[in-house]
Amino acid sequence: MRLVVDLNRCQGYAQCAFLAPDVFTMHGDEALMYDPGPDDAQREHVLRAAEACPVKAITVEAADAAASAQARAGASYAA
């Protein structure tokens, strides 16, 4: 999957590094480093991290994010 962090927005709250530590890591107190192309197995953690970002700085590829949203919509229609 693909993602990018707008580091102008990022203020170092580190929520992503708590919730998806294999994708986002803090370098010192505030600098964020991340894998922009993590394995699909990280999807759940990445979406959790993106949602928890207090400044909404994490953009996940629309198709990757939609996979989960579609499943969501599909499930509710199916029910």
Binding site: R2, V4, N8, C10, G12, E30, Y34, D35, P36, A62
Partner: protein
Amino acid sequence: MPLDGSLQRLRREGHIVVVGASLAGLRAAETLREEGFSGTLTMIGDEPQEPYDRPPLSKQVLLGKVPADHTALPRRRAIDAQWRLGTAATGLDLHAKRVHLSDGSSVEYDRLLITTGVRARPWPNELEADLDGVFVLRTVDDATRLHHRLKAGPRRVLVIGAGFTGSEIASACREQQLPVTVAERGAAPLVGALGAVVGEVAAELQREHGVDLRCGVQVTGLEGDQAGRLRCAHLSDGSTVEADIAVVSLGATRNTEWLAGSGLGAGPRGIACDAGCRAFDVRGIVTDDVFVAGDVARSPHPLFGYQFLSLEHWGNAVAQAEVAAHNMINSSADRRPHVWTPSFWSAQFGVNIKSVGVPPMGEEIIVTQGSLSDRRFTAVYGYRGRVIAAVTFDQAKWLDFYQRQIEQAAPFPPPYPSVDRRPDGMRPVPAGFPDPSLPSHGPTVTLSGHSPADRRVSFTPMRA
């Protein structure tokens, strides 16, 4: 507002060409589709890769934490474009509305967006630049090659130029325990971007992390062995640095050569455009069908005396691309100005450095929070009695406040107390920027006067 017939036709079946398939080009394309453009969209890029993100190249990728091919940019939506990747634009015919390409073909446009960005300034001596072991770092290929060489364990890495990229490279090397020498012409690292006061903090940071930092020197020559491999570098102070890798980090050159003779107001400092991202021609007349965004653009900014501003900033590329795309398919009354406040970040030696505004305009600086010696502080730059910029080291959560101060042209020095004000932050001191008329690789924001034609290569900034 109802669209007139020609605009409706443009939106429905027009042809928009984007030259430059990186961050700005991609975000513009997405915005065009988002706003209902359903015509033909052609994306032209000289690199073979689909759009990717560059900031990780000098950090995660060099550290080997992320493979270089992991940096492809996420798509915010499908853009349904015709891609012409690996094909450079070589010329522009404003009359025929046609872009010429390196493969001999050409494409016509109804609207053109230029987002060709910048490239790394190469080592000026071509023979020396060709030595094995001499690198620049701008593209994913550069990063891949450099990472492989770093992994092989060189004896010593020489970084030429201690701007942001050079400093980040040095940081990545030290984190991998590689011996590093940094040679910087200025008095300190980052001096062109942040001035000597903050530059001194950056210098301490580098030395503390084991960088052999040499300031006030120039690399006068690179020397190879008989096999054509870099062996050492000669410095202007007479010393020699034995190194098998040299990374040339002397800033960037704008990709405007392909526009020479086109009649567009393009030159070494970029392509001049108005606040609505419309390009100027050489006569200073604004065009109606050619737009510019990203690092290659220079546009007037109301906060900074309407001087033309060139920004090598990630966030500017995104914001300007969105404005340009919007304006390309809207009538003049619905157009928006691009009035983004310059913002920048860098991560090096475990410190998060962020800035807002235009630090190089600053005459004086005052530390309003924290202290320089803790490497954890907020400093504010003043210009003619008002706040013009701010920089934080590991204090990003306060930066929004200072951005508002800049946008409101708040008085400098700040007349109010703040939390964590230290004794050394009671009085402003000279910010210590080098003479701006000297060529510098440092600043990421460049003020380039009031002339849209950009005929002058040198310029006089307002504060000189």
